[in-house]
Every structure is written in C-alpha cells, then in structure tokens.
C-alpha cells in the first residue's frame, strides 16, 4: 500500500522539478531544479530495487553531470543573467514538433507489450555486473575508457585554445 503512494509521490516530484527546469527564467535555478529531478529518478530506481543504478544515478548524474551543467552555466556569458526568456521566436514550430513526438510516443507505448517479472530482484547484483563487464561486455568496457580519454583530451585542447 505504501509503495504505490511513494511511487506516485516521487513521480510527481520528478515531473514537477522537470516542469520547473523548462519554465524558470533563471538558467542557474533551472540547473538546481534538474538536480531535484535527478534525485527523484534515483528514488524511483530504489523503489524498483535497482540499488546499483540508484547509486550510479546519484554519483554520476547528481554528482558529476549536474556539476558540469552548473559550471557550464556559470562560465557562459549572459547565462547568469537573472531573467532569460525560456521560449524563442520558434516556439510555435517547437510546440507542434513536441505534440507530434508525444503522439508518436503514446502510439508506440500503447501498442508495446509490457512483460513483467514475477521473480524478486537478485539481492546482490553487483558481482554479476562486475563479471559481465570483464567477460561479455569487455569491448564496451574498454571503449568507455577510450571515450572518457577522448572527452578529457578534447576539453583540454578547447580550454587551452581559448588562452
């Protein structure tokens, strides 16, 4: 009985924060609202008993990506102005595209079958993830490392060119 209430509470929290992200006129506050939405998603992961995913969500999205977004806003010219219009002159086209995309998603999702697992989630899934990373998914594992390296080198080159 409690779980559906918690699920609805966190879902509303995520949607509310997400709405604030796109409607607030202060980019910096939008980034902070995004942190709230990401925390809500982490809570939803915990309700789904996906602990590792929840920790990753907080560690990477809240801890790292949100920091990066806040930094990007603080470093951009004019982004720190308090009053930025959230919409531009193309809002009509944007609204049409958004409504069409929403209709398409509703169409696809209503036709999809949603298989449910009745078995309980494994109590400790992390060793399984660790084993999969170095056996079946070893190539993505190593490619992720290269991808991170490329991102870091690219940032250093861009940052140094500016001087």
């Amino acid at each position: 009985m409690l779980l559906p209430i918690l699920f609805i509470f966190f879902s509303i929290a995520v949607l509310g924060f997400a709405l604030l992200v796109v409607t607030t006129r202060n980019m910096f506050h939008a980034a902070l609202f995004l942190v709230g939405a990401l925390f809500g998603v982490a809570a939803l992961y915990i309700l789904l008993e996906a602990e590792f995913l929840a920790v990753v969500q907080i560690l990477i999205y809240v801890g790292a990506i949100a920091t990066l977004i806040v930094f990007a806003i603080m470093l951009s010219r004019n982004m720190m102005r308090r009053d930025i219009r959230a919409a531009n002159d193309q809002w009509v086209e944007g609204a049409v595209a958004a409504v069409l995309l929403f209709a398409l998603l509703v169409l696809v999702l209503s036709r999809a079958s949603w298989p449910t697992v009745t078995a309980a989630a494994p109590p400790d899934a992390i060793p399984g993830i660790g084993k999969a990373l170095v056996s079946d998914y070893v190539i993505p594992f190593e490619v992720a490392s290269v991808l991170l390296l490329v991102g870091m080198v690219g940032a250093i080159i861009i940052a140094r060119e500016r001087e």
């Binding site: 660790g130 084993k131 990373l133 170095v134 991170l148």
Partner: protein, 118 residues
C-alpha cells in the same frame, strides 16, 4: 531490502524538516524591529562590489570535466572490485588496461599544464 531505505527516507524528512522548523519558529517568535543596518547583506563584513551573478573563469570547467571522467571510472571499477574474488587474471589485465588508458589522460592533462591554475 526496500525497508532499509525507509531509514534513509526518515533521515531525509528529518534533515529537510529540521532547518525549516528552526526558520519557521524563529520567524514566529522573533521580534521584528528592522533598521537599515540590520537589513544590510553583511551586518559585520565588507559589502560585495558589483553583481554576484558574474561569469566565472572557463578553467573551472576543466576541473569539473576531469572530475566527471574519474567519477565514471570509479563507477566502472566498483562492480569489478566487488566481483574480484571470482575473477581470473584476464579480468585483472582488462581492468589494468582500463585504468591505464585513463591514466594516459591524466598524464596528458598534467603535461599540458591543465591542472595548473593560471
């Protein structure tokens, strides 16, 4: 398993409620006799010069990005470390390669002076 997170939930509610309670009680009980000195931003301190909403130096971004890279590295290595006892030498070599590739990035950042504050 899920009930353990109930404690985190209770702690979160208490952590959020505690400062709110303090502020509300202070707002209810405190006498309100404002004067210009009381209402200044810093009652004892130096007033800030200019707007506080300024553009920050781009160099901060580099530190944030390097942090993100090693944050993600931690997340990848954690499941590997948990499963370490059940894995063989090959897994150790793979993880070492993973760390070495990122270490090359750190060496690059260091050599290029990206970690130096200018």
């Amino acid at each position: 398993m899920l009930s353990k997170y109930g404690f985190i939930g209770i702690l979160a509610v208490v952590a959020f409620g505690f400062p709110v309670l303090g502020l509300v009680v202070a707002w209810l009980l405190s006498p309100k006799k404002p004067n210009p000195i009381k209402q200044s931003t810093y009652e004892c301190g130096v007033e800030t010069i200019g707007d506080t909403w300024v553009q920050f130096r781009a160099q901060y971004y580099l530190f944030a990005l390097v942090f993100v890279v090693f944050d993600i590295e931690t997340v990848f290595l954690y499941p590997w470390a948990v499963a370490y006892g059940q894995l063989g030498l090959f897994a150790l070599v793979e993880a070492a390669l993973f760390v070495l590739i990122l270490f090359a990035g750190l060496v690059y950042a260091w050599r290029k002076g990206a970690l130096e504050w200018q």
